[in-house]
Symmetry: C2
Subunit: 233 residues, 2 copies
DNA sequence: CGGTTAATTGATGTGGGTCAAAAGCAGTGG
DNA sequence: CCACTGCTTTTGACCCACATCAATTAACCG
């Protein structure tokens, strides 16, 4: 009954796994680990499911698929992330999820998670807090999309990701693992891949950062923050 | 111990009010009604508060104030709406709220609401559902902002508001009360007031709708939906 | 009646989109 | 080892949706 080894100890995943089951006889039926290759679709929108999922290893992203083609990336998912905290409360998800790298995913039955949520105050608190965090971030992100230029939006996304990566990786010499194509950045911040290329080239020329081969190297964190932070002093 | 009269019977507000208190002796101390004039700031971001608020009558909006001037409107608040469902879980709000018309607001102590939330499954469920609704809407809205043109964004906002207004008003002849200035629409969907004016003029010329004097009159709902719905068939 | 706030309209500017070609760079297979 | 293919990034030329600036009108109000 131990948590997924790659998840952080204070995350929703770990807490759910440690939480006592109301039905001690059921063993490990409620939990199941699966591996998927990169590019595999892990969940699809408007489809009901009795399971909820946690990323244990690798990267994925949550997105909305548009009928005319094109997609909106809503969040990049790192180890320890639920596909979405609200999927604890709804059978039918409004988003799709796709693997960015090879990923290990933990599949939990919603009924069991929900039982633990109801009887374990710690689980409940963790879920509440992750809903709060998502809502706060959504507000901030909407603001960035409406009020900021292309450079600022890209910088904002990178800073946001850096923070999340640093929470689970040791960062040396400002080098962050970041397995995104320019198209993913574009689909997240509402630009074209061509323009993301131009923005990143500018950042490189100005000695702010370099992004290639799945590694982001930040050369001038001060300047990056000046550009990308929503509340600059 | 009755609910605020203007709130819908199945809303969070009504459920909280009907929920039994863990401390029957405290009377009505935990609840307090206040009236505010239009334009008054009802809550300000980065400020801690032991209260949470519900709109009982009138309109308001939740927004983020930017340091350089300018604001991002996140949601228009109608009777029955909490300023935000997540404020049940956090003392310090990340948003401000301003009255759009004169408003009556119900102020509740967070501690009392939180107690009722913990012990009444119905309240808990209502809060969960409104968090789900907010998250779903945020995803959809982010998609609209990133992928849609000015016309489509304005149409989306109006359709969304029409739906919410219709839930609490009887609509006759497609006339919706809508006390917004063009600047509010602009601050919500990320355009300038000037461009919102042009978009609305176009809609009027094409016989789709007319918005003036706080009334939205929809002349061609089909066409409006064709333009504004995210998932058009 | 002047003063304020909101909406309209026109002229002009520009950030980022679109299109297309080229170059880099795996992987694959002969 | 090289040719071929598919994917990603880069670069350039051109375009347009929306911003910006500014003037005018309309509505309201003490």
């Amino acid at each position: 009954m131990s948590a997924c080894v790659t998840c952080r100890d204070d995350g929703v995943c770990a807490l759910i796994s440690r939480s006592p089951s109301p039905d001690p006889n059921q063993g490990e039926q409620w939990r199941h680990f699966v591996f998927f290759d990169a590019r595999k679709e892990l969940a699809s929108q408007n489809t009901a499911s009795d399971y909820i999922f946690v990323i244990c290893a690798g990267w994925a992203f949550r997105y909305i698929q548009l009928a005319e083609g094109g997609r909106q990336i809503l969040k990049f998912l790192l180890p320890g992330d639920l596909f979405s905290p609200i999927s604890i409360f709804e059978r039918e998800s409004h988003f799709s999820v796709k693997a960015l790298t090879g990923v290990q995913v933990c599949r939990l039955t919603r009924s069991e998670v929900h039982k633990r949520y109801l009887r374990d105050r710690k689980v409940q608190f963790a879920v509440e807090q992750s809903c709060v965090a998502e809502a706060r971030h959504a507000s901030e992100f909407i603001t960035v999309l409406c009020k900021r230029s292309a450079e600022e939006r890209v910088a904002y996304l990178l800073l946001h990701l850096m923070q999340r990566i640093a929470a689970s990786h040791v960062i040396r010499e400002q080098r962050y693992p970041l397995p995104l194509r320019q198209q993913h950045i574009a689909d997240c911040v509402g630009l074209t891949q061509v323009h993301v290329s131009r923005v990143l080239s500018l950042f490189r020329e100005r000695g702010i950062l370099a992004l290639s081969d799945g590694v982001l190297e930040v050369r001038n964190p001060q300047e990056l923050k000046r550009i990308g932070l929503l509340n600059r002093s």
